[in-house]
Amino acid sequence: MSRALPLAIFLALVGLFGFGIWWNAHHDPREVPSPLIGKPAPAFDLPVLGDPAQRVSKASMLGKPYLLNVFASWCFACRDEHPVLMAEAQRLGVALVGYNYKDEPADAQRWLAQFGNPYGLVIADRDGRTAIDFGVYGAPETFLIDAQGVIRYKRIGALTPQVIAEQIEPRVRALAGGAP
């Protein structure tokens, strides 16, 4: 029996690989399910970038849906994403809120001044404490939050025109259609 043990272990591995091929054929590996989808966004209370006296909280954002985009000046992928946001922000049909993540405010402002500012509002989470509540893996990430403060969609990694057209716009339209 012990001579057949290597074979048994190998066959178990083959089963695992077969599963892996099947799983990858049916899932997008970039889509990491977030347990927060369909749940209320965590409560937050953060200062506005460049104007620390002014604060934005979850409560103050209720009433209208918005797209929360996590970015940072140190993040290379955000630079790739940035032109897409610049081009698409106007026709999203929803407010685009920047979430400046673990960044020096001066660096972030210089970055926005250099590449342009697609955001209507930018909030700053300098130590990344609130981002933990949002389950942020890294930048860039994007959350769609509805008028009731519920997270409807989450994207890990850069937004592309395709993702915006196929994933975000239909959801935004559905939110708008559902509103009275």
Binding site: P6, L16, G20
Partner: protein
């Protein structure tokens, strides 16, 4: 027209491989010498056609034949000829063709150097090699044809991945594949011995030089890959425990275990089943590496584009080869312990302990690599484990093997002399404590990193054992026979282990890494050096434009060197960082350009001081040389069996019966 010739050559090669697989195995089974004699000509014919197909693809690249989709995807008019040649194996299809070409190189070498082996044995081994060829040729023809045409033909092609446009890339895949594929010979020999029910252990001696050479090439491939990642990826790291790196590291670990186990089986006749199993595993893990990289089962930074059809094909092939050989093993492996008995304290025991550690380490790497997959399968979500898991467990599992390393050569076969081992222990421990402790303390003082201390102590521990044994041979063996190639290879490889340890642990402990913003004229101090940024200029290469920085390095005011890190933009828009490195025996100075910051000409720069980093690769190269040297031992040279009538000559009689 010419690309179709390549396609045709592949089909003919497949026919030859089928002949090479089926007829000799049948002949060895039925005892038919005519069928067995097909093996060598079929192998030679297959090699000719595969070489032709490879040549055709190379020609398509060199002559800019963009009607071939693979060429159009991986080369363009601006790419210099040497990178167009490298592009032959720069992506999935061509790298498979390289794999099969090297398999043919090994097969032809084995066919040529196996004439002194019993005919049925060589026929079985060549038949097994033919089976592997059939699988890979079918894979190329059915799922990954490099000669597929593109209509209409584009005027210019895309570009070879800029990461691959580097001298390291010219040699990395061929060397790595030489290692992977080389284990096929040890594998084929092991399966042939199982099929033939070989009762003596002569086959192990035949397998040993092949294993050593394959392992040497694999070592070289990994070293070049590590160096390439260091120089080209711009992160200054030398090992990332990435799935693809792990795929090459697992066969390396098992191969190292196999080299030692084969020595035991050859000299003492013991551990036969274990040696057989390791020979199967070494090659199985090479195939697994191919599977993991190409099936898309694991996502990795340098995985080839994945396609589920390919994944299913390789999985089926893997099941046939590995499952089949493990089935043969479970039916035919020697059931009774054979060979000479050994005491608890003996060279056999030391090698066995080290072997188990190597095997456990390979299993640990496999588990860590497959973790995300296991997480999905069990519904636990995507979990991956990173360098902390691998690094910690690797050190933990390798520590016993390193502890025993100085004693292995001193321990006698069968029963070691406890008194002698005790003497060695005292000397090695004293050297490690005094010399290693002093050096380690000096390194530790600057960094307060325990790994610096550990690195120095471990290095002295290993090297003093090697020196002690070399000295013993010098005094005790007669002149001229002090260091036969096998023994010298062992000493060299063990020296490599010591040198690698120093490099790996000291680099990890003592490196200084700074990410800084520098305006022209500003300086930063990293380690004991001042780096002054002198601004950025534009320069132009054959198929790229670059921003090239100038960084002057000073040691207490005295100029040391001027470095030119680049940020290249290739013709097709890909951006690639070229780090500038001042190499040195005791430290590398390393500068990479980040991003331009603001309008004053300031840039983000990564500036590293990397002490002893070259020792990592030097250690690897010494291990490689040790493997090659040991393989050259006179004992392994072809010698005809001296006895006039070996049992195999009864084969014709059997067929008559």
């Amino acid at each position: 027209m010419i690309p179709e010739l390549g396609q045709l050559a592949l089909i003919l090669a497949l026919l030859m491989a089928t002949l090479q697989c089926v007829l000799p195995l049948l002949g060895a089974w039925r005892g038919n010498a005519t069928l067995m004699a097909v093996a060598r000509p079929a192998a030679a014919g297959q090699a000719v056609f595969v070489a032709l197909a490879f040549g055709v693809l190379a020609y398509a690249f060199l002559s800019f034949d963009f009607s071939v989709a693979y060429v159009a995807d991986n080369a363009n008019l601006a790419l210099p000829w040497y990178y167009r040649f490298v592009a032959v194996w720069g992506a999935h299809e061509g790298s498979l063709l390289l794999w099969i070409l090297l398999l043919n190189v090994w097969t032809v070498a084995f066919a040529a150097f196996s004439r002194h082996l019993p005919e049925p044995f060589a026929a079985r081994a060549l038949g097994v090699l033919g089976f592997i060829s059939v699988g890979f040729l079918l894979f190329i023809l059915l799922t990954s044809n490099p000669f597929t045409r593109l209509l209409p033909m584009p005027a210019d092609g895309a570009d070879l991945n800029p990461l691959l446009q580097d001298p390291g890339m010219i040699s990395h895949p061929p060397m790595l594949y030489m290692g992977y594929v080389g284990f096929s010979i040890a594998f084929a020999i092991a399966i042939a011995s199982l099929l033939g029910g070989e009762m003596d252990n002569a086959w192990v001696r035949w397998a040993r030089p092949w294993t050593n050479v394959a392992w040497g090439f694999l070592t070289l491939g990994i070293v070049v890959g590590s160096w390439w990642a260091y120089a080209e990826l711009g992160w200054g790291g030398w090992w990332f425990w990435d799935p693809v790196e792990n795929a090459s590291f697992m066969p390396w670990l098992v191969g190292a275990a196999l080299i030692h186990a084969q020595a035991v089986t050859e000299k003492r006749g013991t551990l036969r089943a274990w040696t057989l199993l390791l020979a199967i595993f070494a090659f199985a893990l090479s195939l697994l590496g191919t599977f993991l990289v190409r099936s898309g089962v694991l996502t990795s930074v340098h995985a080839f584009a994945s396609d589920p059809r390919r994944g299913i094909f390789i999985l089926g092939f893997l099941t046939a080869v590995v499952g089949g050989s493990l089935l043969i093993y479970s039916l035919r492996a020697p059931k009774v312990a054979a060979g000479k008995a050994f005491a608890t304290l003996s060279r056999e025991t030391l090698i066995l302990v080290a072997n188990l550690m190597f095997a456990a380490c390979a299993a640990m790497v496999l588990l860590g690599t497959l973790y995300p997959l296991i997480g999905d399968a069990l519904g636990l979500g995507r979990i991956s484990v990173g360098p902390p898991y691998f690094g910690f467990l690797f050190m933990l599992l390798m520590a016993p093997a390193l502890f025993l390393l100085p004693f292995g050569p001193f321990a006698r076969w069968g029963r070691a002399d406890a008194g002698e081992l005790g003497r060695v222990l005292r000397i090695v421990a004293l050297a490690a404590a005094v010399l290693g402790g002093t050096l380690g303390f000096l390194a530790w003082r600057g960094s307060h990193e325990f790994r610096a201390l550990l690195g120095a102590v471990a290095t002295v521990w290993v090297l003093s054992g090697v020196v002690l044994y070399a000295r013993k041979r010098w005094h005790e063996a007669p002149a001229g026979r002090r260091y036969p190639a096998e023994l010298a290879g062992m000493l060299l490889a063990h020296t490599g282990v010591g040198v690698f340890l120093a490099g790996a642990l000291l680099t990890t402990a003592l490196s200084v890494e700074r990410d800084v913003r520098l305006a022209p004229g500003e300086s930063v101090r990293v380690g004991a050096y001042d780096f002054r940024f002198d601004g950025v200029q534009e320069i132009k290469g054959p198929n790229w434009l670059a921003q090239q920085g100038t960084v002057s390095v000073f040691d207490h005011g005295a100029p040391v060197t001027v470095l030119h890190p680049q940020k290249r933009t290739y013709t097709r828009g890909q951006v690639q960082t070229e780090a500038a490195i001042r190499p040195g025996a005791v430290r590398d100075l390393y500068v990479a350009l980040g991003e331009p910051l603001g309008s004053g000409g300031a840039w983000a720069l990564r500036v590293y001081d990397k002490p002893f980093v070259r020792w990592i690769w030097s250690g690897g190269l010494l291990m490689m040389l040790g493997g090659f040297l040991a393989a050259a031992d006179r004992r392994f040279r072809a010698q005809r069996a001296p006895q006039p009538a070996p049992a195999v000559t009864s084969a014709p009689a059997e067929s008559a019966a």
